[in-house]
């Protein structure tokens, strides 16, 4: 399992983040992102995942994060500040299973050697 700090993620472009995540997950790693991804990055990650699915090799990812927080403040909107992503866990679909999830907690089961 790799825990990736928010500082590292901040220095990376969207494509670099997506590539990093997919490479690790395809190698069987569970990735925990301290600050998560933006909603646009998440959708691009799903898109790229779909292009890399291969029968009997890689069936996709399990990705879990919390629903977004409420909208930013008036000042955030004025200055064009967007909300940061929230902590996110991503893993191979055949190894990471979400057991339960709510607003405050994500429970997952990790299996080794599926």
């Amino acid at each position: 399992m790799d825990l990736i700090s928010g500082e590292k993620l901040e220095k990376m472009t969207s494509m670099e983040k997506i590539r990093l995540i997919l490479d690790k997950v395809k190698n069987g790693k569970i990735v925990v992102l301290e600050c998560g991804l933006t909603s646009d990055e998440e959708v691009r990650l799903i898109e790229m995942t779909m292009t890399e699915i291969r029968v009997d090799e890689f069936s996709g990812i399990e990705i879990e994060s919390y629903p977004s927080k409420k909208e930013g403040s008036f000042l955030d909107k004025i200055f064009g500040r967007t909300l940061k992503g929230r902590m996110t866990v991503i893993g191979p679909a055949n190894q990471l299973r979400t057991i339960e999830k709510d607003k405050y907690q994500i429970s997952t089961k990790v299996s080794v050697g599926d």
Partner: protein
């Protein structure tokens, strides 16, 4: 730049409100088997002389190509709105052909379906760039905290586009729209059964209010 962009968006939003845009291209989104095609067919049945947009099936990823119907006029709240309806393939983060074999498909059929399903997810994502709003269809019997729901909602919020949550399958005994409302309280929700058509008039009123 942030201030100018924000000002432009606010101005655009106010102009839309003042002149009440009466045409909208809306996408039906949601996980596989949430009832998107059943809902699209219900809307067309009610407002487009009984046409249908696609075939619904218990096997996931039955819809693997986006289907579009233009010029569907819905009358509600004393006014009318013309919709372009896009029924999108179910969004997913994984596609495993073995899942289809459990429904009786052969291995070859399952692998073909899986390939087409991945293409369908990409197509659904591409459509997000070309819509005026989204009907996010959820199965009321299922856990609403799926990443697909979180991602679609997050995207609509980031694009500042209207979103209406449709809590579907209310005809089933274990349906729990309250769970959906608790998960996403910041968004309007209408509970329906697309299969039976129950509460569908409330959905049309909400569509007119949200996208009109």
């Amino acid at each position: 730049m942030g201030f100018i962009n924000s000002l432009k968006e606010s101005l655009g939003s106010w102009i839309d409100r003042i002149f009440k845009k009466k045409r909208a291209k809306i996408g039906l989104y949601g996980p596989p088997n949430a009832g998107k095609t059943t809902l699209a067919n219900r809307i067309l049945h009610d407002w487009s002389e009984g046409e249908s947009l696609g075939v619904a099936s218990p096997i996931p990823h039955e819809t693997r190509r986006a289907m579009r119907k233009e010029g569907v006029v819905i009358h509600a709240n004393g006014s009318s709105i013309e919709l372009d309806i896009v029924d999108t393939p179910g969004m997913a983060t994984k596609v495993d052909f073995k899942e289809f074999m459990a429904f009786g498909l052969t291995e070859a059929e399952s692998k073909k379906r899986a390939k087409e399903a991945t293409e369908g997810v990409i197509e659904a994502i591409k459509w997000l760039d070309d819509l005026d709003g989204v009907l996010l269809v959820m199965d009321s019997t299922e856990d609403p905290y799926t990443q697909v729901n979180v991602v679609v909602i997050g995207n609509m919020e980031a694009r500042k586009l209207p979103l209406l949550i449709v809590a579907n399958k209310m005809d089933l005994p274990n349906a729990s729209p309250a769970r959906i409302k608790a998960a996403f309280p910041q968004h309007a929700m209408v509970q329906i059964s697309a299969l039976e058509g129950s509460n569908i008039d409330n959905l049309y009123q909400a569509i007119a209010a949200h996208f009109g």
